[in-house]
Symmetry: C2
Amino acid sequence: MSIPSNYLTASECIRLVAEDKLTVEQIALDHLARYDERDSVVHAWAFVNRDLVLSEAKKLDALPKEKRGPLHGAVLGVKDMINLPTQHNSPIYKDHRPNVDAGVVAICRAAGALIFGKTHTTEFASTAEGPPACNPYDPRRTPGGSSSGSGVAVSDYQCSFAFGTQTGGSTIRPGSFNGIYAFKPTWGAITREGLKIYSISLDTLGLFTRSIEDLKLLAKVFRLEDDIPPPTVPKPLSECRFAYVKTDQWDAESGASPELISAWERSAKLLKSAGAEVVDIELPPSFDKIFPDIGRWMMDGEARASFLPEYITSKDSLAPYLQGHVENKTKITRKMQLQGYDELAALRPIIDKIAGEYDAIVTPSVPGEAPLGIGHTGSARLCAMWTALQVPCINIPGFASENGMPIGLTLVAPRYEDQRLLSVAGEVAKAWIGTDDDKLNNIPAPKDAVHLKV
Amino acid sequence: MSIPSNYLTASECIRLVAEDKLTVEQIALDHLARYDERDSVVHAWAFVNRDLVLSEAKKLDALPKEKRGPLHGAVLGVKDMINLPTQHNSPIYKDHRPNVDAGVVAICRAAGALIFGKTHTTEFASTAEGPPACNPYDPRRTPGGSSSGSGVAVSDYQCSFAFGTQTGGSTIRPGSFNGIYAFKPTWGAITREGLKIYSISLDTLGLFTRSIEDLKLLAKVFRLEDDIPPPTVPKPLSECRFAYVKTDQWDAESGASPELISAWERSAKLLKSAGAEVVDIELPPSFDKIFPDIGRWMMDGEARASFLPEYITSKDSLAPYLQGHVENKTKITRKMQLQGYDELAALRPIIDKIAGEYDAIVTPSVPGEAPLGIGHTGSARLCAMWTALQVPCINIPGFASENGMPIGLTLVAPRYEDQRLLSVAGEVAKAWIGTDDDKLNNIPAPKDAVHLKV
């Protein structure tokens, strides 16, 4: 191996292991070496048991080929609010060691993935204070949240893929800030068994990878089947049509930054150069109320029930912000909560119809580059709407600020067109990130890193 | 004590303990005696650890009074799909011993409830084969499902209250078959953390008790707060107006039985005698499609993701019916699933408005008495619609078939008017069950049993 395996994608490792050119043990050693080198800088992990990682790797190597699963050779990081020894970054759950995997962990473990450890999250994946994780492109900056450590671990080549979750923008935001792919599938398409509940109508498992090929592999493992399977050969961009949607938050205070505006314009130019049609559209005004009002009414209303057990048993160990949910500090009436449910439900078929008229909607992931400081994980104002609409979203990296920080943009499709979205995303990524060596450098990479794969 | 404490309601036990007239240890001993006497007949329990029950009871007795919670003296049975040592009646989870309580268990434990054990359920709370539990009124008959053991344990005086769940009719049906109160609150009003997921949009925690007072106490513990609190003194029936809704399933094959028709007519007569206004209404035809189609599209679509982990890891140990969910045997397209979401979402504010014009909707719980045989747990055709609509429902017992089997009827209110519904239910129960000794005998009771309390 000329290059340590932690710099490869999951799919590349899986292929090399299948061809007997690499062992899972070597993969584990490479990732542990990177972890040793970098964890004191970027603090991605809440829990790694190196002996367990190595012994599991050896077990995987000992498995006869016919018993190996589709993820054999991939290394998984799991957000510390998804069952597996899980602590939610809350003192209440300090000794919480559930002995049954979350559904998604069970699926990936059975498919042969090597579970590397638990990644840092904000307390209960809330918007509370950030965890110690910091941005691999600039450790003075936040990696985003709440799936902070998952974004860092994948970006920093410490695992090949990772689980996050998204209630507002907790997958898309770290995707953009850390310069990696971040996929929030249709709400409900992947089981949430074993994920701590914040808002039952919003929480969605998120996936982080360094390649679209890896996302496609995971979508297959999780059986994300559209009614109409996407074409075997992806539709070329020259036949594609994209709707550019700035959303009502673009012009808001702390809305679009200069670096977002620059990425936005460049992205459209690149798509047009590839022959695609790009159309600026505005959503009907009824979508304007989702952030910050309607979505928040639903979320806060649901969080009132979600944190009652911790509030009753261990109030003093619960962040004041989360105590506030139970105490209904934001004064969300049941009427407002129901209005949230009903208005959002009415908007979902409308966005399906609008998005269905294009190959994808292109929309911002975040207002701009990752802000300085790790106390605050950044704003979800530009991506929370899509979570509430329950549509699939992917952050595609490919742009950078003047400070050399990554910026991505989001592609959106109608609900349950996850596979089609991934197919389109692969072609868009080629245009934005490039596939030639000279284009691959249009965004910088974390220390020692090689390029993102399309 | 002239009467063993297991025949008392939770509230009665709590009061006696507070007055130093009863110890939790004595309560535990009384319940264990009943369990010893009856479990070989009715098979309510999947797991009871008598040493643990007794040692926990002694701990509760040792607690200084100022540290005691509002459920101190109550005895809880937990459906075996809610975390606590949990097996889901599936061999896959035989040794599953999660070491963190489900949210609802944590809340009740902190409130001082004595956890008695885990009650039998159908496999993963599905409509698959019934568990060994049988009806305390006639062991040849089903107690209903999937919350079979919970219904039995409360009806048979083996615990004072129990948790079930409802995805179709799994709380209301055992409530009716076992002659007890069964309350399915508004979807989302109580945390589902630690409840195995079947259908995320349908699954709801259910509560079984032998008194409305106990339900009111639990509603307080779970903080089921309406926007407008119900009146301190419940509104008298003479000022109430009830909408009688047969639903489209009344006239369907296997719809209303003669015993249901008789209960229906008698119930209206009793309400009218108490001075209430009773109006027969028909719901708009758009509600007719919910059962069996639209609700099922949503449920089957969601179950496809819910059982994938077990399917991947342990397919052979999973009931064929549940394997079928993952394999999408019912051929639910994503389009149908989304239609399920969107049509139901549109109907919810409509039913809120209709129900809001009355003090409650009165509607059947089940087609009739508990059928013979314990293999099949009965039909949800008359109650599943309300689960899909996410409105709060209560089964009020009070009627009986010629075979002496109990039949209840359901009261329904708009979403998040749970407290108001409980307030009305108390008055309705007085009319249906009666409060005078001569009226209390209008339904029979399980062996050795005393009466239901209003």
